[in-house]
Every structure is written in C-alpha cells, then in structure tokens.
C-alpha cells in the first residue's frame, strides 16, 4: 500500500517528467507533414553531446535533468523553511541597506552609467543594432503596455496597431508614403513624434471609449481584431500606405539649431543614446504617474471597480486614459523604429508582435517598471542570442512556442513576474487566500 505522501511525490515527479518531455519536444528538431512523428521521435532519440563529455540520446539527458531537478526541488522543499530563515537573517541588514533612499538612488545611477558605457563594451555590430532595435525600442513598448496592462489591468492584444500608426505617421510626415505629406512638406522625423503620438492617442480613444466599458475579455478580443485590421489596411491600401512592400525611404533624424548640425544614422550607437534618453524620460514620467492620484485610481479600479466608483472615480475615464497613454508610447516607439531603420512594411505589424510585448511585461512583472525593463532586457536578449547563434534544427518561428510557454508558465508559477510590483504582489497573494474580490471568477460579475 502506498502512503499518501509517496503518492504526491510520485505525482510531482510525473508532472516534472511531463514538463521536461515538453521541453525536450520544443527544443528538438522539426518534423514534417509527410512524417508527422519524426520530429517527436527525433526529439527524444537523437544523439546529443553533453558539454562535449559524452554522447547520449536526448531522452537520457533529459531524464537525468528531471531527476536532478526533482532531487534539488525536494531537498529545497524539505529544507526551505530553514533555508529561508537563514537567508532572511543573513540578508536582513543588506536588505535594510538597499531600502535606504541614498542606496536606491545610487543603484539607479550605477545602472544608468552601465547603460551609458554599454555600447563601448558591446562592439559587435549585430549586438549593437540589437541594443537599439530589439532592446531599447522594446523597453519603450513594454513601458507603455505596462501602463495599460500593469497599472490599469486591461489586456490589449492589438498593441501593435498603435506602433504601426506611429511608424506610418513617420513615413507620412517625412514624405515616404504614396500619400502626400501634410501641406506637401517633407519634414524631419522629429516632427513626426508629436503627430504620431496624437494620432496613436486618438486611435486609442476611438477604440477604447466604446469598448473599455465592456468586460476585460471582450476588450482583449476587440483589440486583437483591431490590430489585425490595421495590418490589413496597411497591406491593402496601396495608394496610401504603399501596400505589402511598404516604403524604405524614411529619412534619419536630423538636428539643426544654429551652428549645430547633426544627423543620426551612422551606425546604431547615436540611436542608442537617443533611445536611452527617451527611455529615461519614460521611466521617470511613468513612475511619477504610478505614485500619483492617477496611479492610485488605476489600482482602485483594478481591485474593486464598484468601490472605486463609490468614491467618485469614473472608471471609463481612467481606463481610456491608460489606453491613450499606452497608445502614445507605442506610437512614439513606432517613430523611433521607422526613423532608425528607414523602413516600414505591414509584415512587422502582426499579432505575434503584440504577444511579444505582452510577454516582456508578464515575465518582468505587471505594474513594475523595473520589472518590465528587466523582462524586456532578458527576453529580448534571449531571442537575439538564439537568432544570432541558432541551435541545430532551430527555426525562427520556434521562438513563438517559447513566448507562449513563458506566458503559461508565469501565470502558473509566478503570476506577479520576476520583479513584482508591491501592489500587484499583494493583490495576487490575497486572491489566493480569498480576500480580494478581484479573484471572484466562479462567483461571476457582481455588477
């Protein structure tokens, strides 16, 4: 007869084994429709080298990993209270130290210095351009989506639409589209910034004002459809957007004031500093926003909309505002990308792009500015690393599998993200013990 303890342990081990089998499958070689099982069987049977030490079929390796992880995990589980206690006592002083204002400020200063000298350390051209195109711009996008999803708790799956609006607005203002620029003047991309922000915000309000009064899941689907439609229009309105090929004639940023003349575009480094400057501005603005009455109102709405209304907060107004601010950030990021790459085409503006940004926010921590930046840096670096040095049998679309897996895994294991925001963590843990009304999923809507 098995004891219940053994039964749970066996279940745990089997769950881990299943998880590892999935990992094995998604990291394995691809299959094909002619031989639908070949990808699966090869994922398990293909010989693989263990750090050059010996060669063994993949399943042996993964089984070994499963056992090791299981042992470490059970050791941790049996010892965790004492380990946590030791950790707490040894880190109590350092933690109190890090909570001091001066320390926090100097940490931020240090990180900024690292960000400033980074292009001097990272000299590889692939990584330098990745720093701008794949990391800095994505940080801007993640910061913006964080306002919508993290602060206001709204799921926007068509975030890419606002990015597209920003990019196309840049192309339009600079005269790179078949559609004539405003007043026939070909302007510098800098002038596209306010125009793109206003257009994106207007689109956000037009889309948001009617739909934000709906339930959250309806909003998600409507925004998803909106993203697809913007891409469809970009693809098919040939006389306005240039159709499927788009345009590659967008000029670089230039700066002419008095005797100072500067043109961006000689390598990625000047763009990096421009983007870094904007990232810093966004960080400061959004942290002030988070700790303002607007940020508190968002928290209130997220937690209990009825109670929030009872103290005079108009939920719709604040949701539209979050939506518009998020849209403006995406529009701005669109300008950055368009000017830097000189290029805009509908192929960029797909649903997977919106999902990618969502992953950055979820992975780092909804509602946590530091979290989403960390999320953007880690997830984007990981993606770039895999694209730069792809493992055997890797196909670029496999990345989407990983993005999907990250979303599910985070929701199961660490819903508040890597660096959780304090408020979000409280909400999520309280939902667990049933104190928060935010978690009443089976009871249904109260209002």
């Amino acid at each position: 007869m098995r004891s219940p303890v053994a039964a749970t342990q066996i279940r745990r081990f089997l769950a881990l084994l299943a998880l590892m089998a999935v990992v094995e499958l998604i990291t394995g070689p691809p299959g094909s429709a002619e031989e639908p099982t070949i990808g699966i069987t090869r994922s398990f049977s293909e010989p693989t080298s263990f750090f050059g030490l010996f060669v063994t079929p993949r399943f042996v390796l993964f089984f070994a990993f499963t056992v090791i992880i299981y042992l470490v995990a059970s050791l941790w589980r049996s010892q965790s209270t004492s380990i946590v206690a030791i950790w707490n006592t040894t880190t109590a002083q350092p933690r109190a130290f890090t909570q001091r204002r001066a320390v926090r400020l100097s940490t931020r200063g240090g990180l900024l210095v690292i960000a400033i000298v980074l292009p001097l350390i990272v000299t590889d051209p692939f990584w330098q351009s990745s720093l701008v195109e794949q990391i800095a711009v994505y940080i801007l996008l993640a910061l913006g989506l964080n306002v919508v999803t993290g602060f206001a708790g709204l799921l926007d799956l068509g975030y890419v639409a606002f990015y597209a609006i920003g990019a196309y607005a840049t192309a339009w203002v600079t005269g790179a589209l078949p559609l004539a620029p405003p007043f026939g003047i070909h302007m510098d991309p800098f002038f596209a910034i306010p125009i793109a922000i206003v257009l994106a915000m207007v689109a956000g309000v037009i889309l948001g004002a009617p739909t934000l009064r709906l339930r959250g899941d309806y909003l998600a689907i409507v925004t998803l459809g909106f993203g697809e439609i913007i891409a469809l229009f970009a693809n098919n309105l040939n006389t306005i957007t240039g159709g499927a090929t788009g345009t590659n004639e967008i000029p670089h940023f230039t700066f002419h004031v008095g005797p100072v003349n500067y043109r961006w575009g000689l390598g990625p480094v000047p763009y990096y500093y421009l983007a870094l400057g904007f990232v810093v501005i966004f960080i400061v603005a959004f942290s002030l926003l988070e700790h303002s009455r607007v940020g508190r109102a968002w928290t209130a709405i997220r937690e209990d909309e009825v109670a929030a209304e009872s103290v005079g907060i108009n939920p719709l107004k604040y949701k539209v505002m979050a939506f518009a601010i998020g849209a403006a950030s995406a529009g701005f990021a669109g300008v950055m990308t368009a000017a830097q790459t000189n290029f805009v085409s509908p192929a960029t503006f797909t649903l997977v792009f919106s999902i990618n940004i969502l992953v950055l926010v979820i992975f780092g921590g909804m509602g946590s500015i530091a979290g989403v930046i960390l999320g953007a840096v880690l997830v984007q670096t990981f993606q770039m690393f895999i694209i730069h040095t792809p493992p055997a049998g890797f196909q670029p679309q496999d990345l989407y599998i990983y993005l999907g897996a990250i979303l599910v895994a985070m929701m199961i294991f660490r819903p508040a993200g890597l660096l959780p925001s304090r408020r979000r963590r409280r909400e999520l843990t309280m939902a667990e013990v049933g104190k928060s009304t935010a978690g009443e999923i089976l009871i249904g809507e109260q209002s």
Partner: protein
C-alpha cells in the same frame, strides 16, 4: 443621386445572380461557426471566461483527421460505403483529438489558476500563451504549409436550387452539423450531465452545495466543447485544407457568433453562427474581398456596443 441608384442596382444585379449560391455557402460556413461557437459559449457558461485557446482545439481536430484520412485513403477514390466509414472516422478522430486537447488545456492552463483563485486577467494571459504554444508547436512538428485533406467522398453538384448548384460538400456539412447540434441541445436540456452544466452555469456556489462536482462538470464542459471544435476542424479541413494557423480566423468569427447569439447560451451560439455565416457570405457582394474578414469584426464590435447580451441573452441555464 443617380450615382447612388446605379450603385444599388448594380449590387442588386449581383445579388440576383448569386443569391442562392451565396446563401448555400453561407449556411454551410455558418454551421461550422456554430460548432466552434459551442465551445466558447459552454466554457463561458461554467467558467465565466472566454477560452482564447479554443482555436487550437479546432486546429488539432483538423490535423488529427488529416493524418488519419491521409493514411487510410491516400490518393484513392473511396466507394459509397467507404465514404460513410471515412466520414465517421474523420468526425471521430477530429472530435476526440479536440476533446483530448481541451482536457489537457483545462488541466494545464486553467486548473492551477482556478486552484489559486487567480484574477481573470491571469486566465486570459494563460490561455493566449497556451494558444501560441500549441499552434506554433504544430507548425514545428507538422511543417508550416497548407495540406489538403484526402477527400472521403467525391464532391459534385447534387441538385440545383433556382439554378444554383448545391454541392455534396455543403449537404454533408449541414446534415452532420445540424444532427450534432440537435444532439447537444438534447444533452444539455435533458440529461443529468446537462443539468449539472446548467446548474454550474447559473450559480457555481449553490451547485457545489447541492452536490454537483464542479471540477468534473468543468472538465465535461471542456470535453463537449472540444469535441465540437475538433469536429468543426475536420469539416473545415475537408474543403480548405489544414495548416497550423488555421484556427485563428474561424475561431475569431465563431467567437463573434457566440457573442451575437448571447454568450453562455447554447442555442444562441447555433443561431449566431448561422446568422454570421449568411451575413458574411452576402457581404462579398458589397465588400472588397481583401476586407471580408473585417465584416465579422465589425459585427462583433456592433453587437458588443448595441446589445452585448446578444440575440438570445446570456444565460446558459435559461436556454434549454
């Protein structure tokens, strides 16, 4: 003024010629939407959330029946008896695979969150992640190109309505879907299983106090929805082929159909699907082909704004 008149008469002209074929095609598509919409609406009924990963259940059903029929039929032309057998096998394989995927989905992406009483946002994110994971994994394992399914029967025009030929394919889809939907309606309305589902849909807490096993009911609901979604994947795949991204657009439309009929309402999903299929089919006369998918979306937004409870209202319990 005369321009408007000319425009309208031109469209009437188009409608006059193509009215019946458009109607027949619309009804067939509509039934497929109905089958998928069942899954959305039933899961919504018991969990109060939209199963974003339902599109992949549909896709899985399409692939399962593709592989089975490919192996059994290959390039041969089946006899009449064979046709019936292959149709039954296609339906079964699609439906069962859909069912399996739905159960796994509930188990992995939803149940851990339910245990934790997670906020709704978490379910949505988890489901979107699961959807992305599944269809891209299918792309990796089975290739990222369109596969045409081995045909279980020879598709030809059976008869004509007002001069419009009606193909075998449409007859098959309509007959199978109508029969399955009728069956489902009876299951929900009369069986103990259906009573449990309706009880949970109306009031989960009370239902659990009355001795309904909530976990089990939820799994059964996923299974039923999964079976119908997978079956729809097979029927859709017969004419349009299967590909890893096949779920996205039909599922979005089926979701629209579910909302149109009143989400949570089984009969509403059936009516909504039919209505959407027909409206969409006729809109070809008015809308540039490239924008045809926008029609369903526009209907969705319109319904949400004007009558978010849909045609028949929201309650699963009330419908049957």
């Amino acid at each position: 003024m005369s321009g408007i008149f000319q425009f309208l008469s031109a469209h009437f002209h188009i409608l006059h010629i193509t009215f019946w074929p458009l109607l027949v095609g619309g009804i067939a598509n509509g039934f497929i939407y109905s089958l998928i919409a069942i899954g959305y609406t039933m899961v919504y009924g018991v969990l109060r959330l939209i199963n974003f990963a339902h599109s992949e259940i549909f896709m899985a059903g399409g692939f399962a029946s593709y592989f089975l029929l490919h192996a059994l039929i290959g390039h041969s032309t089946p006899s009449t008896g064979g046709s019936i057998l292959f149709m039954a096998l296609g339906m079964l394989s699609g439906g069962l695979c859909g069912m399996l995927v739905a159960v796994i989905l509930e188990r992995v992406a939803y149940r851990p969150l339910r245990r934790r009483n997670a906020p709704k946002l978490a379910y949505l994110i988890s489901a979107i992640g699961a959807s992305y994971f599944m269809f891209n994994l299918a792309g990796k394992e089975f290739g990222r190109y369109n596969l045409s399914m081995a045909q279980p029967f020879v598709n030809h025009s059976l008869f004509t309505i007002f001069g419009a030929p009606v193909q075998m394919y449409y007859i098959v889809i309509v007959a199978i879907s109508a029969a399955m939907l009728f069956l489902l309606d009876r299951i929900v309305a009369t069986t103990k299983l259906g009573r449990g589902i309706r009880a949970v849909a109306q009031d989960a807490e009370t239902a659990s106090l009355m001795g309904v096993n909530i976990d089990q009911t939820i799994v059964v609901t996923f299974m039923l929805g999964g079976f119908f979604g997978g079956l729809a994947g097979f029927l859709f795949g017969m004419s349009s082929g299967v590909v890893y991204t096949m779920g996205f657009t039909p599922a979005l439309k089926a979701f629209t159909a579910a909302v149109l009929g009143g989400i949570g309402n089984v009969r509403g999903a059936m009516i909504g699907g039919l209505l959407l299929g027909i409206v969409e089919s006729f809109s070809i006369a008015f809308v540039n082909g490239a924008f045809i998918d926008v029609v369903a979306f526009a209907i969705l937004v319109l319904v949400l704004l004007v009558r978010p409870t849909g045609i028949l209202g929201e309650q699963l319990g009330r419908s049957a």
